[in-house]
Symmetry: D2
Subunit: 142 residues, 4 copies
């Protein structure tokens, strides 16, 4: 199986058990080897009294995207640490897109950068996640 | 008003508009000047197929706690950046507690550390948030 | 003056007062708007008993590169925070190159990513720096 | 041997090969289990044209202190990642002190926080380092 096909199969397998991303109404738009793209609408539940989106919701979108990207090689991987820089507020009704790209893999660790933008293409946040591989695979490959 | 009383009043004012924390079932247990403590049960919606809690949910608990701590001086403050280190998994049914403590304030910026533990006292994650103050207050003080 | 010319002029002005980079034997190889590239040999003074380079020296190379990139718009800028992920050791005698690229500017803050590689092109470290602009310029522009 | 005695012995063994810390004129003032304290004068070589200390020098002091703290259990440990928040400038002639304290150890990883203050007790920077243990010991214990 081609590595991007394998990545897609990993993404589909993860998605079935990924209740958080579904709970947030995220959409898994694309998975390739070392890459994932997701989107999410900013809903009533995610905003505070000023209709600005809670940082935790933006983080969760970026974190899920990181999760799909770092598990795209069919080797189970966990988040070890993450950091996020908030650059502009997101508001109720906006559509956020997160694009995660692998920056490095060395031994068991991987580094992934995720950019979160709104539907006007404005940069909302930059996220960096570090993953560690563990035993196990996402899909069976014959 | 004493600064810890003021902090509590700020916490109550924030809580009313804080739909994310309520959506996650968080409890705001204590707010003092430069300090906040919250707790949250790990529910079905927060776990993946292996019943381990999504990092985004742990982050969101820490991030909310940071939000109450950095807004406890009755000066509006926003998260500028955050980082989290995941140290042990959290599982379905566990109760997580986050304690946020101010480390520094310098000019408009503040640094807050949040420790997330489970109900057995095991350390689940360490979070560090950086805040920036903006115009506006949370409560009117006569 | 073209923005890349201005960036070079800023770099030259900074270099004259930048004793740390000179003390470490760094070379300022290129400055453009939002971009800088520096290199450094790993010398005896930078290594421990196993001839591996101290993280502080790798950080300092990345940090200087970040400094040139974030000051390349002729607006004084300071480092507010930095993070580094070490991916492979660097050894005595190796030549390290750091390339810093602007990721975002929003208000007074900027985000810059720096990749440090050795002379075989292997990735040694990934660095992310956040800058804040302050009053003052690096060069006089007529 | 008592664990603090062992920590001191580890510190002495590391110090002999630690050319960077010596090159910067650092003093290793105290090592205990999970703890280290170092100090450093801000010298001519560390400052820019405005006599403010280069972030790389402050980082290197914190990073060395982290190194002594995370190696204090007589199990070789390496820095995996570090982050630093700069809170106030340090100037030529000031004496900086870094105190590193273990926050967590879980499996092979450890988290250490380092506070850098000047001789008036003002907070200059907050540093967080993550270590990973590797094979080997610093001292032979009979």
């Amino acid at each position: 199986m081609h590595r991007d096909q394998l990545a897609r199969a990993c993404g589909e397998a993860m998605w079935r058990g990924d209740r958080v991303s579904q709970w947030f109404g995220m959409r898994l738009e694309e998975v390739r080897a070392g890459y994932a793209r997701m989107s999410m609408d900013v809903t009533e539940q995610m905003v505070n009294a000023h209709n600005t989106c809670h940082g935790g919701a933006i983080f969760t979108l970026a974190d899920s995207t990181f999760g799909y990207a770092c598990n795209s090689h069919n080797q189970n991987a966990l988040a070890a640490s993450c950091s996020i820089e908030y650059l502009a507020p997101a508001y109720l009704g906006e559509v956020l897109t997160a694009v995660g790209v692998e920056q490095a893999r060395a031994g068991r660790q991987g580094i992934y950068d995720v950019r979160v933008t709104n539907h006007r293409g404005e940069l909302i946040a930059l996220f960096r996640g570090k993953s560690v591989t563990v035993r196990g695979h996402l899909v069976e490959v014959q």
